[in-house]
Point group: C2
Chain length 372, copies 2
C-alpha cells in the first residue's frame, strides 16, 4: 500500500505501461502505412511522457502553443508543429524558436502571413489550415481560390517553405457510431486530396496531415495521407470510450480523490476533487444525466474496472458528488481514496499539473503547479 498511502489529496495517477501500449499501437499503425507519426503533445504536456515516444521512433511532434513548443525544444525536440493558427503577437518567440528547431506554423490568414513576412528573421515551414467540415477554423476546403492564393503568397516569401495542408476533423467527436467516425475520417481525406490536386495543378506540391484521436484510433490503415497528429490517444478518457475509440482498459490516467463525506439517504459520496482538478467537462448519458467521471477502486498496482452504476454526478470548485450504487457506498468510509476516470484527460491533466506513476515516480508538466 505504499503508493496509495502516499496520496493525501487529488492526485493524477499515470499508468505508464498503458501509455507505452497506446503509443506502440499508434506508432505501429503509422509505420505499417508508411506515414509520419507526429503525436500532439498538448494532452500530456510533459517532458517525461514525451520521452517515451522516442522509444517508438517518434522525432516529430505537434503542440498547441508557441510556449509549449519552447518547453519541448528545451528537451531536444527539433521538429515541432504549432497546430493552431499562428499568433503573430509572439513573433519574437517564433524567431527565437525558428533559429533553434525546424518550426512548422499553421497559416490560414493573409493578414498574419503579411505580418510574418515583415517581421520574421529565420526560415519557417508552414502548413495551410483547411476546414474539412469541422467549421472551427481553417480555409474551407471548397474555397480553392483562397487556398491557392495563400499558397502562392507563401511561395513568394523566400524564408517560408510550404510543407502541406493540415486539418483537424474535430467533428468526429460529435459522431454517434464508429461507422460515422470512419465516414468522417475518409471524407476528410477525400476533401484534402481534392485540395491537394487543385494545388498540384498550380505546381504546388503539398503533403496532407490529419489528426483526431477518434479517426486515427478507429481506422486500420492510413492511405493517401502523409502524416497523422493524434494527441489524446496517449491517455484516452471517457469521451473516447463513449465514442468507441478505446476500451476502458486503454485509459492510462485516473485521479485519486479522498472521500470526505457520505450521505446515506441519497447514496452519495462526497470526494475532495472538483472542477479545479477534473474540469467541468461532462458526458451526457442517454437518460439526460451529466457524468463528470467514472468511479473505480485504487490499489498500488493500478485501478479496478469502473463501477457500472456509480458516477460523478456534479462538481463544484473542490467538491465532487458521487451518485453511488449500494456496493460502493457500503465499501468506503471517510479518509479512503477512490479513483475517478476523467471525462476529458487533456483538461484534467492540464489542471493537476503533476503526475504520479504507479511505480511512484513523480513529474510535473509544462504549466506546472507549485507543489505544496
Amino acid at each position: 500500500m505504499e503508493l496509495t498511502r502516499s496520496i493525501s489529496k487529488p492526485t493524477l495517477l499515470l499508468n505508464m505501461r498503458q501509455v507505452q501500449k497506446n503509443i506502440a499501437k499508434m506508432a505501429a499503425k503509422a509505420e505499417a502505412s508508411d506515414i509520419h507519426f507526429r503525436p500532439h503533445f498538448k494532452t500530456h504536456q510533459s517532458i517525461a511522457v514525451g520521452r517515451r515516444f522516442k522509444d517508438y521512433g517518434v522525432r516529430k511532434i505537434a503542440v498547441s502553443s508557441l510556449d509549449m513548443a519552447k518547453y519541448f525544444s528545451d528537451d531536444g525536440w527539433d521538429d515541432i508543429t504549432v497546430a493552431i493558427p499562428v499568433n503573430i503577437r509572439q513573433t519574437e518567440l517564433i524567431n527565437h524558436l525558428a533559429r533553434r528547431v525546424r518550426l512548422n506554423l499553421v497559416i490560414e490568414s493573409n493578414a498574419s502571413l503579411d505580418y510574418l513576412r515583415q517581421n520574421m528573421t529565420s526560415r519557417l515551414n508552414v502548413w495551410i489550415k483547411i476546414d474539412a467540415g469541422y467549421h472551427r477554423t481553417g480555409i474551407h476546403w471548397q474555397d480553392t481560390q483562397s487556398i491557392i492564393k495563400i499558397a502562392k503568397a507563401i511561395g513568394s516569401i523566400s524564408m517560408l517553405r510550404l510543407d502541406g495542408i493540415l486539418t483537424h476533423a474535430g467533428h468526429t467527436y460529435h459522431a454517434n457510431s464508429i461507422e460515422e467516425i470512419e465516414r468522417i475520417f475518409y471524407q476528410t481525406i477525400d476533401r484534402l486530396k481534392y485540395v491537394q490536386s487543385q494545388l498540384k495543378r498550380e505546381n504546388i506540391p503539398t503533403a496532407i496531415s490529419v489528426g483526431d484521436t477518434p479517426g486515427c484510433s478507429i481506422v486500420d490503415r492510413f492511405d493517401n495521407i502523409q502524416e497523422i497528429r493524434p494527441g489524446n490517444f496517449v491517455f484516452y478518457d471517457l469521451v473516447q470510450m463513449d465514442l468507441g475509440s478505446c476500451k476502458e482498459d486503454d485509459i492510462a490516467v485516473a485521479v485519486a480523490c479522498p472521500v470526505i463525506a457520505k450521505h446515506e439517504s441519497r447514496q452519495q459520496i462526497i470526494i475532495y476533487g472538483g472542477a479545479v482538478h477534473l474540469s467541468k467537462e461532462f458526458l451526457k448519458a442517454s437518460d439526460g444525466i451529466n457524468i463528470y467521471g467514472r468511479i473505480c477502486n485504487l490499489a498500488d498496482s493500478g485501478w479496478s474496472a469502473s463501477y457500472r452504476k456509480s458516477y460523478l454526478s456534479a462538481v463544484s470548485q473542490e467538491h465532487g458528488i458521487i451518485q453511488s450504487e449500494p456496493e460502493l457506498f457500503k465499501s468506503v468510509k471517510e479518509g479512503d481514496l477512490l479513483g475517478v476516470l476523467p471525462v476529458h484527460s487533456c483538461l484534467t491533466a492540464n489542471l493537476l499539473g503533476n503526475y504520479l506513476t504507479l511505480d511512484g515516480e513523480q513529474f510535473t508538466m509544462f504549466h506546472y503547479r507549485q507543489s505544496t
Copy 2:
C-alpha cells in the same frame, strides 16, 4: 498602449480599483450588521489580492483546501476556516497549521471526528456543516439528532472547540430571480436558527456562518447570523450578472486574448484562448445557446462594456470561437486583442494562475503556473 502592447497570449487582467470597491461594499454591509466578514479566498487564491482585504479590516478568511490555508498562513493570516469537510488524509498538515494559526475545520462525519480525536496534536476549532437545502453536503438541518450527537462528541474532546454551524446555500445559483435568491437566503438563516435553538436547548451555544455570493450581494442587512463567507464577489462574473448579484461594471477580471483567425461567412472570430484558460463553464442563454464568455474591447485603462450581440460560442483546448456582430467583426484583425468576461471567474483565475493589473503589476497565485 503600454499595457496592451505587453500582452502576447491569454492574460488575466485585474482591475484592482474595482476589487477594492467590491471588498469595500461587502465589508461595509457586514460592519453595519455588526457581524464577522470572513471572505472566501478560493476565488482569487492570491497573496497580493488577499492583502487588499486587510485595508478593510478583514482578519479572518475562508479557504477551500488545507494547502491553501498554508499558503495564506505563510503571509500572516492567522484565523483560517477550511470550508470543506475535513480531509483526514492531511492530518499532518492540520497539526502543522493548528500549531501556527487559529485553524477552523468543518466537520460533518463521525468517522472523521474519531480519526481527528486519535491523531490531532494541537487545539482546533470546528464548525458543523449543515445542509440547509442545497444538498451538496452537510448534515440535514432537520436531522437535529445527528447534529446534537456530533456537537456533543466534539464537546467531549478537550482539544476541540465548537464554534458554530455553517452552511453554503449554493442553491441560490439555481435561482431564477433576485426575489428567489432573497427567499433562499432568509430560508437558510431560518433553518440554521432552528438548528441553533435546538443546540441551545442542550446548552451548546453556536454561531451561524453562511456564505454564498448571490445571497450576500443581494440582501441589505445580515440579521440573526454571526458571520458571512462570500468569495466570488471580489471579482464577480457573468454567472453573478445573470443572477442579478452584480452589474457588468462590478466585474473586476477579464481575459485578454489574441485574435488568430476570422471567418466572414460565419461572422466568427477565432481567438487564442480556450478551455485551458477560461474553463468549460457556460451560461445557457434563453434561446438555448451556450455562452462561454462575453466580448469587450481592451484599452490600457481597462475594458469597454461588452458587445450585446457577440459572445464566445465554443471553446476547445486553446481555441475560442466568437460569434460576432458585424460591428465587432469588421473592427478587428489577426493580431489584435479582445477581452473576454469570464462565465465563472474562480475557475478562470485558477486556470490562468497569474494576474496583470491595469497598472502593469504582475503577481502569481497559490497554484502558480511556470511563466514561460
